[in-house]
């Protein structure tokens, strides 16, 4: 998909989250999108592009905007994973890990489910 991306910036312009990404509303959309494409191709992204990728909440407003009809939301997803170091690179976006997540949801399960439901459903 990244090969077909022309870094036209239409996805950036359609994105409802840019107002929450510092620097993005003032930046050139083509350069912001170019960072996403670069990440997918194994390269690096500017801080502003990383800010945009970090603010992606999977609205999918980018998909109908793309003139190449790419699944931009999925590209953003992969770019986000890559920016968080999913393939072993140094993360460009801070990774928020929650070591208590599993024990926490199991605690809530003990609150809301019977022993039998937990035994059968978990």
């Amino acid at each position: 998909m990244a090969e077909a991306c022309t870094a036209c910036g239409a996805c950036v312009q359609a994105c409802p989250m840019t107002r929450f990404a510092p620097g993005v509303p003032e930046a050139d959309p083509m350069q912001v999108a170019g960072g996403m494409r670069a990440l997918l191709q194994g390269g690096e992204a500017s801080a502003v592009s990383l800010g945009w990728i970090g603010a992606c909440t999977r609205s999918a407003a980018c998909n109908p905007a793309c003139p190449e009809q790419l699944d931009v939301a999925l590209m953003m997803r992969f770019a986000s994973m890559r920016a968080r170091g999913a393939l072993g690179e140094a993360p460009g976006i801070a990774v928020k890990t929650d070591s208590g997540w599993s024990a926490r949801v199991k605690g809530f399960a003990r609150l809301g489910l019977t022993d039998q439901e937990q035994a059968e459903w978990l």
Partner: protein, 285 residues
């Protein structure tokens, strides 16, 4: 709304409720009961042992391993369908999991299944529910599964319930995504509250668990109520439930609001260290 009068045959499925719906045992149980009542033998499966890999996306190897384990577990059940609840699980299944591990089942969202079986569902919804409802919509999952329309349709089956006409959808696929972006969740809540005031709505109806988790605190100091769509269906069916998460989240002191038996089941350390900080979080608006 036209309702088909041809009941669909019974089917065997897995109800994959995800991980974080475990915070809302009432919603999980009611959904399983509705599936059974409309003719789906749906075995609930979820929790960390059936994870879609979302919490580990910073490590592709772990994400892939979790996805593979979950698809293999579903294949091993021999059930022909996996019914999803969580939009993140649903999209991960299609985008990441099945491309790695071929599935021997089809996936469908729970709202699709209930709507397909609306003839049986509507027979259960006999009690009027007096509520003027704003639906809490997100834009992100709608292109995959038209969940905003499906839940609207399901709510229209409830006698007495008025759904206000509001097509505005929040960004993101659910509120847990917005919560990670400074300012975004507060903006979403403010948009919902403004829309409720504009339409004179008294009830905010959440679709997803993470939205419910974030929105229940909006009840504090406001003459509104926050309910999940499953709660509203259950009210119309006359089924008893208690929204325990909302009860604790909106309690002045969640620890004092929890009965001793529940604390004993959970474990005092788990409650204090892992659950209480979340329940005591200051509302964002």
């Amino acid at each position: 709304m036209a309702v088909t009068h041809h009941p669909l045959p019974a089917e065997r499925a897995v109800f994959w409720y995800g991980c974080n719906l475990l915070r809302h045992g009432d919603v999980l149980r009611l959904t399983a009961r509705f599936l059974e009542a409309v003719g789906v033998d749906a075995a609930p499966r979820g929790g960390p042992s059936h994870c879609c890999g979302s919490p580990t996306e910073h490590n592709a190897r772990i994400t892939e391993g979790m996805g593979r384990r979950t698809v293999a577990a579903f294949n091993a059940t021999g059930r022909e369908k996996v019914i999803t609840w969580c939009p993140s699980c649903h999209m991960n299944m299609a985008d990441l999991m099945v491309p790695e591990t071929p599935a021997q089942f089809e996936a469908a969202h729970v709202t699709e299944v209930l709507w397909q079986r609306r003839a049986a569902l509507q027979k259960l919804l006999v009690r009027p529910v007096q509520a003027r409802v704003l639906l809490h919509r997100h834009a992100g999952f709608q292109p995959r599964v038209a969940v905003n329309d499906l839940v609207s349709n399901l709510l229209h089956l409830i006698p007495g319930l008025e759904l206000v006409a509001e097509d505005e959808a929040l960004p993101g696929h659910m509120c847990s995504a917005l919560a990670g972006v400074p300012g975004a969740l507060a903006a979403a809540h403010e948009a919902n509250l403004a829309a409720m005031a504009r339409h004179g709505a008294d009830t905010l109806c959440t679709i997803f668990h993470s939205c419910h988790r974030e929105a229940v605190a909006l009840e504090r100091g406001r003459a509104i109520r926050v309910m999940n769509w499953v709660h509203l269906l259950a009210s119309a069916a006359g089924w008893e439930f208690r929204d325990e998460y909302k009860h604790l989240r909106n309690a002045e002191d969640p620890r004092a609001a929890l009965d001793e038996a529940a604390l004993g089941r959970i474990g005092a350390d788990v409650f204090t260290q892992l659950m209480e900080p979340e329940l005591r979080r200051k509302p964002v608006v």
